[in-house]
Symmetry: C2
Subunit: 113 residues, 2 copies
DNA sequence: TACGATGTTCGACGAACGACGAAATTGTCG
DNA sequence: CGACAATTTCGTCGTTCGTCGAACATCGTA
């Protein structure tokens, strides 16, 4: 069987203009996913398994899928790793100021605890 | 039985400092509730039954409860009516810029359809 | 006092969600 | 090739969500 056959389907990402605000808000309204986004905010890219969240790998995979399909992150495959990056520019174009404002708001509440 | 006895428990509202960002995001991540907030943005106060949303009264009541308990709106009782108002000032104090940014973002996407 | 208007509470229901473990996929390295 | 590492997919479990209808509470008014 030829190597060129893709077993895994290509990663589905919405176009920038297709990003839905309600989907984004829903994606961000979860502590695990918010943590992921906050980490991604400080680095250009990061492998999935290296996030400081305490959930099973399969659960993490689910959260990445939610973030990806809502348009918050972009994922690319490299070897058997998958790297995630914030779609900061796309989000800024689509919803100016949103990401900064939300992350600033969360930083404020996270500082309380 | 004296009239002063409260039959209905007082409406529960979180203090401004207790408002949780993730709860707010979750509250806003629903089309019906987003519509309510958008309407409330243009008026200081409004009776519950007068919103242009197409759901059953009990469902509407549920959405108001979610908005109230997350700190997005404030409700007060007057006779047998219940008036809702955006907690714009409280939200601005707690999460500066959040409400404006989110509503501006939604307005942008709503204009597409 | 009885009625109607307003709005809530109380189940009930199906759908979606977050979590997990087991199994499968893909690539690297010995 | 075979063991290992990274990650996803699948199936499942229990919870939460959005919705509804029926019943209840409250208030103004005929």
């Amino acid at each position: 069987m030829p190597r060129s056959t893709r077993r895994r389907p290509a990663l589905a990402h919405p176009e920038t203009r297709e990003i839905d605000l309600l989907d984004v808000l829903h994606a961000l309204a979860d502590p695990t996913r918010m943590t992921i986004v906050r980490v991604l905010r400080t680095e250009p890219e990061r492998a999935c398994g290296t996030f400081p969240v305490d959930v099973a790998p399969s659960t993490l995979s689910h959260h990445f899928k939610v973030l990806r399909e809502s348009g918050v992150i972009r994922q690319r495959e490299e070897a058997n790793r998958r790297f995630s990056a914030l779609r900061a520019t796309d989000l800024e174009q689509r919803f100016p100021g949103l990401l900064d404002t939300v992350l600033a708001a969360y930083a404020r509440t996270a500082a309380e605890a």
